[in-house]
């Protein structure tokens, strides 16, 4: 999959009316599948709970009094199946509870606002993608006539539609294709501390040659390592950097060394950036 190899393949331009490209990231297949499974679990739990209440209600009341309850039950199950996705995706956050939990939402491919008819189109198609083959299977299984052939047919049908997003560039399912929508990542990211403001006891200074050893790509990797705060990773990285720039680093000092080097390297590269030289990685001049 392109996803696993190259995450940049899933980034799409989204230019706001203010002229800033927000670079949305499409949700990958795994995230979407887990979001959908969460929704299915929610639906099933709700259906089971309501059905249990309805059954006990029917038992307690006579058949006469239970009729309104029966109608409410039929309509509720119908709504759960057909309206759950539509109501939540048409709502303010454009995401079902399951999608919200995994941090994705539905957006219009044109970049304009998501409209109700788009939400409806993408969710009615779910009927044939998932519910139709499974309900036919369930019905045949219930009646005891589910032979191997029809089971295989139903499963292959459902499988075909569920792997459809893997075979197009934009990860669209049939419903997305017809509605002009796609599913993008919209995670909530907290503002974390600025690492270059960290004051550590090693007040090391580095020469221009030592700072020129690395570029932006390495700086971002270094930032990742520092934020992860794993002792052994930092020790290994500190040794590598020390060897490259010719500095001696004691293992206990590796975090302080890396913090100091990160701060200096970033300031050095940012200064270059201001002067018009984006040094992409260590091979760039």
């Amino acid at each position: 999959m392109a996803t696993a190899r190259n995450p940049a393949a899933l980034v799409r331009p989204l230019v706001t009316p203010e002229g800033v490209d927000l670079r949305v990231k499409l949700a990958d297949a795994g995230t979407r599948a887990s979001g959908f499974l969460l929704d299915v679990v929610i639906i099933i739990v709700a259906a089971v709970v309501v059905s249990l209440v309805a059954i006990f209600g029917l038992g307690g009341l006579g058949v006469q009094e239970a009729e309104p309850l029966f109608i409410v039950w039929i309509i509720f199950i119908f709504l759960l199946r057909n309206v759950y996705f539509i109501a939540f995706e048409a709502g303010r956050r454009a995401a079902t509870p399951g999608k919200r939990m995994v941090g994705i939402l539905v957006a219009s491919r044109s970049g304009a606002g998501l409209t109700l008819d788009q939400v409806i189109a993408r969710n009615l198609m779910r009927e044939i993608e998932v519910f139709l083959p499974l309900s036919i299977l369930a019905a045949r299984g219930g009646a005891g006539v589910a032979d191997t052939l029809s089971t295989i047919f139903g499963l292959v049908w459902a499988l075909l539609f569920s792997v459809f997003p893997l075979f197009n560039r934009d990860r669209l399912r049939i419903g997305d294709l017809l509605a002009g929508t796609w599913v993008v990542e919209a995670p909530k990211v907290a503002l974390v501390e600025d690492l270059s403001l960290r004051k550590d006891r090693v007040a090391a200074r580095f020469s221009a040659a030592q700072l020129d050893a690395y570029g932006i790509a390495e700086l971002h990797k270094l930032e990742e390592v520092l934020r992860r705060d794993d002792y052994f990773a930092m020790k290994a990285v500190a040794e590598t950097i020390g060897r490259k720039i010719g500095a001696k680093v004691e293992p206990v000092d590796s975090k302080a060394f890396l913090t100091a080097y990160y701060g200096e390297l970033r300031a050095h590269l940012e200064r270059k950036l201001l002067l018009g030289n984006r040094k992409a990685d260590k091979y760039a001049r």
Partner: protein
């Protein structure tokens, strides 16, 4: 150990960039969190006005940060914040009331008018199906069991006596579970319509088949009644809700055909764009179909067993059909008149 000149100054100015703007970002984040949870009404006027200002300031911070800062965590934070703000502010979220109003006043009739050709084809197919069903059952009554599932037939079959058939038409039929049965029929019909719509993407073939089959069932039932001389009475019994219901199913089929044909023949648009455009018109029509089926269910549950006069039945059925046609095809003139 010489230090490049100005490194400390760069560090200082980027740190103050963040310090100066951080309060705005936090305020924007807090406001967004509030409006995403509750209606915009929960905000005061000042807060509401500050929302777009804070959004633009966050966007400008993002541009500055991308151009000058190499703190990837900061850029990731600003990107996520701006994206959330963008989806909220440009999501064009109208209130539910205007949306519902727009749907009934403009979008729904417009979608049906847009589908006029497909609706004609769909109605034509229903008629063809009905004639075929009638003819098949008339030539060999075993076709009846093949066309109509026993669970839906409700004990009506070619061998039933005229009395049994008549009692279904005029008796109080299902008894106490009557409205429960109506609710069941409503969900069943909606599911059939959704299928007719959703399967349309396979070049409209399944939609055509579903509509033909639906017509076949109609013709088959009609034949067994007509053979006993009850054709006129059955027409009344069916039409009280059937005009609405059959029209709705025909529209669902039309919506499916629109999708299938626009995928097959996208015209000047790309196939994807044509599909997306057709999908949106068809989806609007489909919501209308659900509303119509709800009406049909109500008419069936309430009207069919309580109104037993043939004339009353025909006039209600005909009235509903006229109402729908006027609403879909003539309503636009009223709007033009109003400007």
């Amino acid at each position: 150990m010489t230090l490049p000149a100005g490194t400390d100054a760069v560090r200082q100015s980027l740190a103050s960039f963040r310090q100066e703007r951080e309060a705005d970002w936090k305020a924007f984040e807090a406001l967004l969190a509030r409006v995403e949870k509750r209606a915009p009404r929960a905000l005061s006027e000042d807060e509401l006005l500050s929302l777009p200002l804070l959004y633009r300031s966050a966007l400008s911070s993002l541009s500055v940060a991308r151009a000058t800062s190499l703190d990837s965590a900061l850029i990731a934070y600003l990107e996520a914040l701006c994206l959330r703000g963008y989806f909220y502010l440009y999501g064009a979220r109208r209130s539910l009331r205007t949306r519902v109003g727009d749907f009934f006043l403009r979008d729904w009739p417009a979608a049906i008018r847009d589908l006029w050709r497909e609706v004609w084809v769909s109605v034509g197919l229903t008629v063809v199906g009905a004639i075929a069903g009638y003819w098949l059952v008339a030539s060999d009554k075993h076709w009846y069991d093949a066309i109509i599932a026993p669970s839906l037939a409700g004990g009506r079959n070619p061998d039933s006596s005229a009395e049994t058939l008549r009692s279904v038409l005029y008796g109080d039929g299902g008894g106490h579970f009557l409205s429960g049965f109506a609710a069941y029929l409503f969900t069943h019909n909606t599911q059939v319509s959704i299928l007719a719509f959703a399967l349309g993407f396979a070049f409209a073939v399944p939609s055509v088949l579903i509509i033909l089959m639906n017509g076949c069932m109609l013709g088959a039932i009609f034949q067994i009644y007509a053979a006993k001389g009850l054709g006129f009475e059955l027409g009344g019994w069916l039409s009280i809700h059937g005009t609405t219901e059959l029209f709705a199913i025909a529209i669902a089929g039309a919506a499916g055909m629109r999708i299938g044909t626009s995928i097959a023949f996208p015209g000047e648009l790309t196939r994807m764009a044509a599909a997306a455009q057709a999908g949106r018109v068809a989806a609007t029509a489909m919501v209308g179909v659900a509303v119509m089926l709800l009406f049909a269910g109500l008419l069936e549950g309430i009207g069919r067993q309580t109104i037993t006069g043939d004339v009353a039945r025909y006039s209600i059925g005909g009235g509903m059909l006229t109402l729908w046609i006027c609403y879909f095809y003539l309503f636009r003139m009223v709007r033009h008149g109003n400007g």
